[in-house]
Symmetry: C2
Subunit: 227 residues, 2 copies
DNA sequence: GTAAAAAAAGAACGTTCGATTGTTTCCTGA
DNA sequence: TCAGGAAACAATCGAACGTTCTTTTTTTAC
């Protein structure tokens, strides 16, 4: 046997990409073997090389495509939003919802940068910097206008992004709280943390109920999964 | 040749542990080979097995010892601190300083849980839960007393810990800001985010001047690492 | 001074890895 | 209809992996 019936290049390419994202997300880039990936999409490992140059470039393609998508969608979400506070809220809203629905991609882009070789890593880090700049600009603007009490915009940027991104470590779509509720909670935390005290930004109403939600990491078997 | 001159069991064990932490921190558990670790401490790879059962148990030992240290030091830092706000500040202060000085251990404990096998991972997750509980309890207490406006203590706990822990992704001891200054910035963010608005918890003065006095933690005290 | 214990070397193992190559089969457009 | 290109198989490479085992050397205890 050689080519299997019904095989299709474009479809296979997409399947490889999706399976790769899931496997890297669950096991990590180093721990994912190409044989594992191949078997996931019903191929032999050698056939994968029709679809990428090598394992490293597969990772980079995933990271780069994700970062480009993230940046462009963020720009779209903040386009036309005026004023520091609205822009801050728009960023928080976008970032949270994006990270809630793209957990795997986000996790890879954040955690597997270390697995990229130097040139690729530099590209990824620059893209991340551009994204962070969007929040930092909003904070600087607010500080200049007196709306925010932010003495170190870069530190606050890192802090806020870390807080928001952390949601992908525990969020489950079938959890008790809706996306809207979570966005409201996080928005309160962020806005309260940076808003100037005198600006009595009325905090939204209470949200309700006890707690829940396991903080378990993307748990799955460790080590390589033998096919 | 077999045994090298000046060799010493206890010293080697410590060297292996330290090198292991650094290598896992920089390359990840899966990407670190035992030959690499052995050469780092001047051994042959086979000799490592005098010091651990296997690669997996080396990782678990590192994670477990770190978590035990983290929890015991956190309990010491908060011991005798009364009231929600002081306890919250004590937690923030401790957590930040600990994470600034133990970047590698913290990174491993957070990121390599996935590389632990199921039983070991369960132990690590339970330890993390116990640690998180300390912050959650402070938030619940504050919410009950009306000092904090926290509708979902568990969500806020995850958010705050993510924000604080993120500092180990970029903090450098030789950076522009001192540990005290960073603690002050993060404390403002956290306290502002959860404090009840009406409780005009006067935000601390500008940070340009000496940072606010650290809560009470007698342990990790910053050594003015202007660094 | 000597024998036991400790520490490490060094060789080898079976396995798996990423990657390459040559071949076979399927699909498609002129 | 039938070549030519696309898609996948199958076999294989050398290197590296974690691990085990035996041997050799150093240290320690009596």
């Amino acid at each position: 046997m050689a080519r299997t019936i019904g095989s299709n290049g474009a479809r296979t390419a997409k399947a490889i990409r999706q399976a790769g994202v899931q496997l890297i997300y669950r096991h990590g880039y180093e721990a994912m073997s190409l044989r594992q990936l191949a078997s996931e999409v019903g191929l032999q490992s050698g056939s994968l090389y029709k679809y990428f140059e090598n394992k490293q470039s597969l990772l980079f393609d995933i990271v780069r495509d994700h970062m480009e998508d993230l940046i462009s969608k963020a720009e779209a979400a903040m386009d036309g939003v005026d004023g520091p506070l609205p822009r801050l809220k728009a960023f928080v809203d976008f970032h949270l919802r994006y990270h809630m629905t793209r957990k795997a991609h986000v996790f890879i882009a954040n955690m597997e940068i270390r697995s990229l070789d130097a040139p690729h890593r530099a590209v990824a880090i620059e893209m991340r910097r551009r994204y962070e700049q969007m929040l930092e600009d909003a904070l600087r603007l607010g500080a200049a206008e007196g709306a925010f009490r932010v003495s170190e915009p870069k530190v606050s940027t890192y802090a806020i992004i870390s807080m928001l991104t952390g949601i992908c470590m525990w969020y489950r779509p079938d959890g008790r709280l809706t996306q809207d509720e979570l966005v409201a909670i996080y928005t309160d935390l962020v806005v309260g943390g940076v808003a100037s005290p005198e600006r009595g930004a009325a905090k939204p109403a209470e949200l309700s109920a006890p707690a829940e939600a396991p903080p378990t990491a993307p748990s799955v078997r460790s080590r390589r999964v033998r096919a």
